[in-house]
Assembly symmetry: C4
Homo-oligomer: 342 residues x 4
């Protein structure tokens, strides 16, 4: 591991915020200081400079050991969130497996107990049983193959019930997949440090990828970086970053989020090198309300120190044509242009 020189902790007062909901534990200043320390939930022990806290897909960079089988499987979540191609593949596979299983059972129960009008076409008892199983499982039941014994009748009665349940399950899964609220928010690939009014600002840009509307969009940004305790041990520290604007009611086009680097900012006076040395990562949480289903959706993202462009600002994404119509070009989200910092 290379040696890192974490940023020396700034005095706390700059980010000290009043605690409106609880009493100050006034007889211990240490307890009070600890209550003021911001933590987004990762804890202070992540001092490895090579990995990030939040991956680009929004997942967390933490392995879990000794999870139970069912918790690890997390079947419903997996079936709901997996790719459509995989999902349909699993359905097909499951359908085939179920039919092979029941075909085997019918063969064991005596294939002669399934009577068909034209048994020759199936090229063998197994396939007759297989197609009979498929016709039973889907309840299509043409009747050109029928169970011809008590046992096969009973198996078929059970299988058709199972088929209905499996279908019920698929119905639920398909609905669950479709109706799951997901925020399709695209983040600019890079954040920038650009001039902002008479100071500078740390900025990134988001846009709604879909044409369904999001309302009441809220953004929360935290800075995570390594600092050293008075005794010299490195620890990870978190700062909530003030934003020029944390919420918009409507979100019809792009939105550039700006953290003004004023003297109160933990970024005040920082250079690109400082961010790199302290393994800085900007953690972002977006909350919004999907207008179609009136459900709250979430979106996580992070920018690491090496995804920040200094001395560049974002270009304009919107156009106004001759007729006065505004259009926003999603492909221009990542466009930046040079800018001189204040």
């Amino acid at each position: 591991m290379t040696t890192r020189t974490p940023v020396k902790a700034k005095p706390l007062h700059a980010t000290r915020v009043p605690l409106p909901d609880k009493l100050k534990n006034s007889d211990s200043e240490l307890v009070h200081q600890e209550e003021l320390r911001q933590d987004v939930g990762f804890g202070t022990r992540f001092t490895d400079p090579y990995s990030r806290l939040i991956n680009k897909d929004g997942s967390f960079n933490i392995n879990r050991v000794n999870e139970s089988f069912w918790d690890r499987l997390n079947l419903y979540n997996r079936l709901i969130t997996m790719n459509w191609v995989y999902f349909l593949g699993w359905i097909l596979l499951f359908y085939l497996a179920e039919n092979i299983l029941f075909a085997t059972i019918y063969v064991l129960a005596g294939a002669e107990n399934l009577v068909g009008t034209n048994d020759a076409m199936f090229h063998g008892a197994f396939w007759k049983a297989f197609f009979f199983s498929a016709q039973t499982l889907t309840t299509v039941g043409y009747g050109h193959i029928v169970p011809n014994s008590f046992l096969t009748s009973a198996i078929a009665a059970f299988e058709s019930m199972l088929g209905l349940l499996a279908f019920a399950l698929s119905t639920g899964l398909l609905y669950g997949r479709f109706s799951r609220p997901v925020a399709h928010i695209r983040f600019s690939k890079q954040a920038v440090v650009a001039p902002y009014l008479d100071v500078n600002g740390w900025m990134f840009r988001i846009i709604n990828e879909r044409s369904n509307q999001l309302i009441d969009v809220q953004v929360e940004v935290s800075l995570s970086r390594l600092e050293t305790k008075p005794d010299g041990t490195p620890y990870r520290r978190y700062y909530g970053l003030n934003l020029e604007r944390t919420q918009v009611t409507f979100f019809p086009n792009n939105w550039t989020l700006v953290h003004p680097i004023t003297s109160e900012s933990p970024l005040y006076g920082c250079t690109a090198g400082d961010l790199s040395r302290s393994d800085a990562e900007f953690l972002i949480l977006v909350r919004a309300t999907d207008d179609t289903f009136a459900q709250v959706v979430h979106c996580r993202y992070s920018y690491r120190y090496d995804e920040i462009q200094w001395n560049r600002k974002f270009g304009i994404m919107t156009n106004e044509n001759q007729a006065g119509n505004i259009s926003v070009d999603l492909n221009k989200l990542d466009n930046t242009e040079p800018a001189t910092l204040n």
Copy 2:
């Protein structure tokens, strides 16, 4: 484009509100001013006087360029929100298309491999295959046409599974359509500027179109208009408007929302001509809770300068009959009568 004379920006102090949740960035007054500027999310670049920000159906007046195919299609949203007639039409079309596709496949696999008790009635191999497909897809499977080869049996087994999935999908879509929380709030066609107590007020009126109850109804109104920066460039500015009352617990009859035009109002001293010249638009967001499903629903609307009647007030919508019963007449929502402004 005609020349417009945007309203000169009023000094900020009137609408300056304290920021309870964040620190004042005290070392840059410009940053502080910018934090105070209200923006509902459209940005300042909409300076075209001919188009509105929010269309009458609540959608936004912004085109999107370079959206990806799937994001543009937005299939689920589209199927959920389209008109019932179109929806049922698409279902029928899809059913026909699926049957035509599979009929073709069966014919290619050899129509003689589908055996019927009375093949003559179908007037050709294609239609026999078509009706066999329909009976397979819906799993009705009468059995008077049956697959009579390995290949057609396999295709039919696949088709019946596909039929079940398609049906599962339809179940989900139908439920999604029915259970989607929608606020059926009707807005008065016109807003009015009418006398209000000892001042005047900008008012509009809403009513719940449906008999299911809405509770905890909240209304937020913003004024959007063109103003000029000190350097003379026009830009769009937003003001949150104070309302006499922003929330009601119950919403059993009509509700007239009033913005009192006191000296703190950005409308103070404005004339109809001022509103027109500054391309003023009033943006409205209603949030409510649907009582049946306890879901939060939303509703957007806007009034442009040319949808405001001056010197008129709203008429009474409720009647009390002999027996003392109150009734509210939805047809009277838009009724106004002359009134002299204070």
Copy 3:
């Protein structure tokens, strides 16, 4: 109508609360007073002393005139909220009607085009068509009656698709009915005015009727009564009532809600006769979170002046047996016993 003497309006200051979210419209005291007036959404025009605002089932006592057909029908809401017996009756009726309709169509298309193995048993072409329709609609398709012409095959193909859609609809409706979040909160039949600490209190009592848990239960109580304007015209006025406790985290047994009648209360100094003369009604809204589905549920109720017992207090509902187990007896919810007011 009998003559009523509405209570003279108390001076406003007692219930004047600070408005934290908006600026005082300081240049018009009338506007400011109006902003402070509480209104739960019914408005001031309900001056009829014979009817109540909220019916005992939580619905509002307002007729709606000129509602559109679909809004009045409000089909989904109606099907979701109606009694189970009615609901199943409608399903059965719809099934019969659909079969009668299609039977008629098949007969018109030529009943001889449906071929059965034993046509005699149906006692006529209509019933053969009827049962064929039922077997098609449910996709059971035994195959002992089959379509035997192009036309009847096409009708059957359409009907089986319709059957699947109808079934999809039923699936959605059944799920919607079952999963609808409903708060089964039982209110004591009567409210009481009883001694409370060193003053008196207006009290009512609620309990969760079901064994599924409600958490974060919040209660809001408003008093509605007739008062007279300075010019003598009666109008309906609303007061939010302070409660000893407005929220509990858990709701495992009964909860007595108390409005302490201190000098700030609009009930201070009121007699039973005052409440009656001013047509007083106590409007109650309960919000809670259903623990099973984590959904917010609502419940409305009201007590009119004639549903209040004076000089009585609620009896104890809980028992502790020998083994120390606590039990709560739902039948004792309405029990009251005499009590002398302070």
Copy 4:
């Protein structure tokens, strides 16, 4: 019952919090004091020292008497929350019962009215009717047994409709079971009293058992214990406990919740014996947002006085391997090690 010596009530001022939402009822100090008393909803009458308020599975320890049959049954809740094995068992049982019922009806209607191609195989009229019923209920309808009279046709038409409804119900139940939002949060088996900064703290530890993410996790802890009124009668009292941190945005690994035992804490100066004598129980409510479905989930738990380890602290659960990857070991959740209190 053994004699218990409840803790003497501490003076109220330490936990008195400002009431922001309502006026102080200033003319009765008793009313004001009562408004300040914290109560999580159990009331003050639970003075039995042998039972706990919240069971380990999160249910409440209160029996309910005279609940109505349907409220007690609470069918949907029960079917949704029961074990999968029981659920599938009930489905199978219901399927068998339905078939036995209809088989009996068909036999009563004349078993000769069901015609099969091979009646011998069923070993009797009942089983022929049973399998016909199964083929009708599941709508598989092979057609090798068919109704051969008006009456049996009518019964079959009814049964197939019933089958579809039962299947619709199962679809809803399966979806409801799968999509029910549940927080799988594991609590450490024991709470500890350990040194915390320069004071001591009461601590417990939680972790998300599943790999789906929870965000905006909020924790609320109340202390419940027996105290004595001035007249010597014991009553149960509740205190909201201040926590070092009540909310985290992300919850990727374990979280140790700390109540600092400063002089304001109701635990200040308490010994293990005090907690035992006053039958102390710590009530915990966790609220979080499930990231997959963006639904709010809840979790209840409690620690009784005999589930608290004194002079021990929690061990570390996370490891950082050579490559710098962090992993968290779920099996170490309950690990504690000795620690000397301040």
